[in-house]
């Protein structure tokens, strides 16, 4: 028994250095072979796999373009694509694997907010730059990591961008119906702070994200004083379709605004919301009035030719991110993740919709850290059943 034990200990001591060597490699740092870029994104239902597919298509398009031009530093680019299933635990595993085993030098493509937040923490800890193209929770950049970069808009910023429209319409009392996720409550908090600073009253009503019937809450909202003039919906599950309909059913006649642009492109919107969906305002970062740079026009044409449909706005942001990573590698002459992160921090890049430069505010907890603030926002409004984003009325600016 004792001999067996001694034998075991000897083996462990012998193999321990090997085990630690396997686990502790820093990301990237290889000198030859393809340069790998990690793409963790949802690719299977019930997560938003349609967006994930578009993310993958965009990255592939960008990488193919670069490789046709000879790659970067004489090396080809390679995408490491993995399905994070819209689940936090899976997302964390996927990103960890990409960094430790595949040695990716940068990560693009995370999608769902809560998953992206966890993934950003892992990347920050392992010192590999991660870029968010459309993940909105404030916390992602509020952690002030030098490895987390966001081209995407974020919750509080959207609230701020909505204010001029809200003030122009003269709304005095806004009710935010928020789902109990970090997106919903984050959006409600952001809206409250920004609106109240400008004299607009905000009441928040939180509901479980997968609620099947919101009419009791909506009845209560109807009975509030002073009367509500705008109902803002911050949800990504079925309540986002149910609320406009159930609000009209309980007799709420105020204006309704969706917190993000699902009425503009979701095929289920008109099916599920029906008539009640007409006249619902929604903010979007894309419209026929969006100004594209030459790079932007090039991307739009290339994507449409390759995939048969026009790219959504977030595809533009993602394309920009891949190109920025390539620029950074060229600038520092190396594929070292830390050097790439340093280059990104100070880079000025002529993107698809404008010049991208990351800004950082020193206040702890401020979401502006490696955050781009140059997105163009539009407010749309469908005037007829069935109108999608390209046909809806642009009411602002």
């Amino acid at each position: 028994m004792r001999r067996a034990l001694l034998l075991w200990v000897a083996c462990l001591l012998l193999f321990a250095p090997l085990l630690t060597a396997c686990g502790a490699q820093p990301g990237g740092g290889q000198e030859t072979g393809p340069i790998k870029i990690g793409v963790p994104t949802p690719l299977s239902p019930p997560a938003d796999y349609k967006a994930g597919e578009i993310n993958v298509n965009t990255v592939k398009l960008a990488i193919d373009e670069i490789n046709k031009q000879g790659g970067v530093l004489g090396r080809q680019l390679e995408a490491v694509i993995m399905d994070d299933q819209g689940d936090t635990a899976t997302g964390v595993n996927v990103v960890t694997k990409m960094i430790t085993e595949d040695k990716v030098v940068a990560i693009v493509g995370p999608w769902h907010g809560s998953v992206a937040l966890a993934q950003a923490k892992v990347a920050a800890e392992k010192q590999v730059p991660i870029l968010l193209h459309y993940s909105w929770p404030d916390e992602i950049t509020a952690m002030h990591s030098d490895y987390v970069f966001r081209v995407s808009p974020y919750n509080s910023q959207i609230a701020q961008l909505l204010m001029p429209f809200i003030l122009q319409k003269g709304y005095k009392h806004i009710v935010v119906m928020a789902e109990d996720s970090s997106y919903g409550t984050g959006f409600a908090d952001g809206m409250t702070k920004v609106a109240q600073a400008q004299g607009v009253q905000v009441t928040t009503r939180v509901f479980p994200a997968q609620s099947l019937d919101l009419s009791p809450q909506l009845l209560e909202v109807k009975s509030l004083t002073p009367p509500v003039d705008l109902l803002l919906i911050a949800a990504v599950y079925q309540p986002m379709y149910l609320i406009p309909k159930q609000a009209r059913e309980v007799g709420l006649t105020c204006d309704i605004m969706a917190g993000w642009d699902y009425p503009g492109w979701s095929p289920e919107y008109w099916q599920t919301t029906g008539e009640a969906g007409v006249g619902v305002y929604y903010p979007t970062f894309y419209s026929s009035k969006l100004t594209l740079t030459p790079l932007g026009k090039h991307f739009k044409d290339a994507y449409t030719a390759a995939y048969g449909h026009e790219p959504p706005i977030y595809a533009y942001f993602l394309y920009d991110e891949v190109m920025m990573v390539v620029e950074a590698i060229k600038k520092v002459g190396s594929a070292d993740p830390t050097k790439i992160a340093q280059a990104l921090k100070t880079m000025e890049f002529e993107g698809t919709t404008g010049t991208i430069k990351f800004e950082s505010h020193d206040t702890p907890g401020d979401p502006v850290w490696n955050q781009w603030l140059g997105q163009q926002i539009f407010i749309m409004r469908p005037t007829q059943v069935g109108q999608m984003q390209d046909q809806a009325e642009v009411v602002w600016p």
Binding site: P45, P46, D180, R205, V206, F207, P208, Q210, S211, L212, D213, S215, P216, Q217, L219, E220, K222, S223, Q238, Y241, L242, E249, G251, P267, E268, Q271, T272, G274
Partner: protein
């Protein structure tokens, strides 16, 4: 709107939705009472019922009032098949722990049904057209037409089932099995056949609940999970094996949820049901009408 008026409207909605929840509870209580089996897939039969009726309406252009009984009939058949294939071994005495076995196998079935729904219909939200558009005025309160239809349907169905169990020979057989299995055996009741019937009927009830609530809640692959949890809360509140218990338990749950989410905090809507459940477990563990252990 005056506070009293608001209260009445909320109360009316709570009662209405409670009667539909009661259908879920009724199905579960029948299965447990007669078969001593825990059906973890009851929520998925709710979901399958909704999808079946949706599919019949979309693909065969049937009106809702034809698709509903047809859909319930189809799920009845499915429930029968499930009982024969998956649950028969437990009841035929070939398994050591029939309750644990039924729990595990129906849990696996629920996952299978969910994934099949995603494959067949996609993870998207579907909608059945409104049954009765707009609101209906009933005295002081106005209630959405869909909810009124759902409530009438659920109450009617519960009444029919209750009468069936009280007055028919089959109903008597079920009561006998629930009260004393050996005694029922001795008097010649065909246990296995009744087991299949009860299970199939319960799944049909869940399917009906799913279909009739679909215009309000939308249809999607995981819509059954909330229904399942509510069903179990109801049988714990109303008492295992008691039919009036499921009805009253359902209504109590509906009222607790809607009143709580309006007057307390809407974020904790699901908590109110659990709070009610805990109160019952502490002060009256056998539920409203359950038999004392």
């Amino acid at each position: 709107m005056s506070p009293f008026h608001l209260f009445l409207e909320i109360l009316a909605r709570g009662i209405a939705i409670g009667t539909v929840y009661a259908l879920m509870g009724l199905g579960l209580t029948l299965i447990f009472g007669v078969m001593r089996v825990i059906n973890f897939a009851q929520g998925e039969f709710y979901m399958v019922g909704a999808y079946t009726v949706f599919s019949l309406m979309q693909n065969l252009s049937l009106p809702f009032y034809v698709a509903l009984p047809l859909g319930m009939g189809l799920v009845f058949g499915l429930g029968w098949a499930v009982e024969q294939i998956l649950l028969r071994p437990a009841l035929a005495g070939r398994i050591d722990n029939p309750m644990e076995y039924s729990l595990i196998i129906t849990f696996a079935l629920s996952i299978l049904l969910q994934k099949l729904a995603i494959l067949a219909f996609g993870p998207f939200y579907q909608k059945i057209p409104d049954l009765l558009p707009g609101n209906i005025r009933l005295g002081l309160v106005s209630i959405p037409g869909n909810l009124l239809v759902a409530m009438l349907f659920a109450t009617g169905l519960i009444a029919v089932v209750t009468l069936f169990i009280a007055r028919t020979k089959t109903g008597r057989a079920w009561r006998a099995i629930a009260q004393c299995l050996p005694g029922a055996c001795i008097t010649g009741v065909r246990i296995e056949r009744h087991g299949a019937l009860v299970f199939a009927l319960s799944t049909a009830l869940a399917a009906g609940a799913g279909a009739v609530l679909a215009p309000i809640t939308l249809i999607f692959p995981t819509v059954g999970s909330a229904a399942l949890v509510k069903g179990y809360e109801i049988i714990a509140i109303g008492g295992l094996g008691s039919i009036p218990g499921s009805l009253l338990g359902g209504i109590l749950l509906g009222i607790a949820e809607t009143l709580g989410s309006v007057y307390l905090n809407s974020a904790y809507k699901d908590v109110y049901g659990f709070a009610l459940l805990m109160l019952f477990l502490i002060f009256r563990p056998r539920g409203l009408f359950g038999q004392s252990a």
